[in-house]
Amino acid sequence: MKVEQIDPRPPVKPAPSNSRLARAKPVLWPPSDIGRSACGLRACKRYSIRALDAGVRVIYKIACLCSLSYGRSSKWSNDNRPPGGVDLYGRLSDISGSERFGGTMANPQMVMYEEEFNQIQTVVDRLVKEANAKVVFIVDKNGQLIAASGDIENIDTTSLASLTAGNIAATGGIAKLLRENEFATQFHEGEKANIHIQLVGNRVILVVIFDSKSSLGLVRLRVRKASDELNRIFELLLSKVPEPGSDSPFAEITDEDIDNLFND
């Protein structure tokens, strides 16, 4: 059976000629013992069943990581890839001290403006249609819901946002322990609903919930396109950091305003 091949990884940024990366032996990706043919849901299922028959759970998990959690780095995270060390796939990375879980710098405050919000909402609305999805939403890595579209009336998006961010944070922690930068893509298959989680620009999380009306291949294809668009929008948004003292409504908050919140 021929499995559709989609390579969501961005082109690898060439390393400076004097870096350790440049001196390292080139490594083929993915490793030949796992093989690209193992990627894709159906192949992965076969892999899993075979492995489970043999009673080797670890192999089962590795097979799933191969097909669905690429450990892929976005352009953004590629640029920030820390130097030193060799990861599971032979790529160079570092897992030292304080950068282990999330870096040394706190994330700057995110401010969403109408223009970018509309652009993001357009991308999300279109993704629902193009991927034949039930629900699509975007969450920041701290668990704040940014935008949602689809059948959101019957779903607790706030809880989903928090749990998705927790999931990404936990997976990111595992990635760092494995000297991996991030597992940027996750997929969970249920009996009726499936969820595809994609880290975009190492800052926000794009979540697609779909059922049997769609397929993993289609979702991945559409998510890839949407991720590029979202990356551009968020880069633009982050470049619009408000200057202190600008027309922020919070500059005018009084102690009385704050006290009034707690009057009930």
Partner: protein, 195 residues
């Protein structure tokens, strides 16, 4: 860090309850959940073990009302207190706007409290924060138990920075909302400062 959405006219902040195992972090959230108007709260999520020990986090979204036309939402999280869940604690501190340290006032937990404060400082530093630079309050919990250390003795050990502190009995709700109000005010004040 807080998330300001000018389009939806809302502001979201993240508050984390920190402290040693069994100090009452989850109990704080449960009391807040029970006593809050249904329209102002979302679903409370607890990722806990079968023995009801927090495994990853508890989460409670709260809506406090409007301030200058902006809906103010607070996302309350607890960390798992047990020592070996340190990796999870670090993750939950990501993007935090304010921290409540829940201390167990019992004599036999004094050392555990101090270790947890030190752990909080270390984990915050790894996220790029300093404890004395972010909104921070302390709650001395379990004041109803017989073997508690006096607040006067606890303060220099647990709260040497002299941040606002509150005596509490989270099980019955004493001091729970006072602590929450205090940190909420500090977070909003910080927001004004940064504006």
């Amino acid at each position: 860090m807080s998330f300001i959405n000018y389009m939806a006219r809302e502001i979201n902040c993240k508050i984390v309850y920190y402290g040693p195992g069994l100090c009452g972090k989850t109990t704080n959230l449960q009391y807040i959940y029970e006593r809050t108007n249904p329209s102002a709260k979302g679903k409370m999520i607890s990722l806990a073990t079968e023995t009801e020990r927090t495994l990853f986090f508890d989460f409670l979204p709260l809506s406090l009302g409007e301030i200058r036309g902006f809906k103010t939402r607070f996302h309350l999280y607890t960390v798992p207190g047990q020592v070996f869940y340190d990796a999870s604690r670090k993750l939950i501190l990501k993007g935090v706007d304010g921290v409540i340290f829940v201390a167990d006032s019992q004599m036999e937990r004094l050392e555990a409290n101090q270790e947890s404060v030190d752990n909080l400082k270390t984990n915050l530093a790894e996220q790029g924060y300093q404890l004395d630079k972010i909104p921070y309050v302390v709650q001395f919990n379990k004041r109803d138990l017989p073997n508690v250390v006096s607040v006067e003795e606890l303060r220099p050990l647990i709260n040497p920075m002299g941040v606002p502190d509150y005596e509490a009995v989270a099980r019955t709700g004493v001091g729970v909302f006072d602590t929450l109000k205090s940190i909420s005010k500090l977070v909003l004040t910080e927001l004004r400062r940064g504006a």
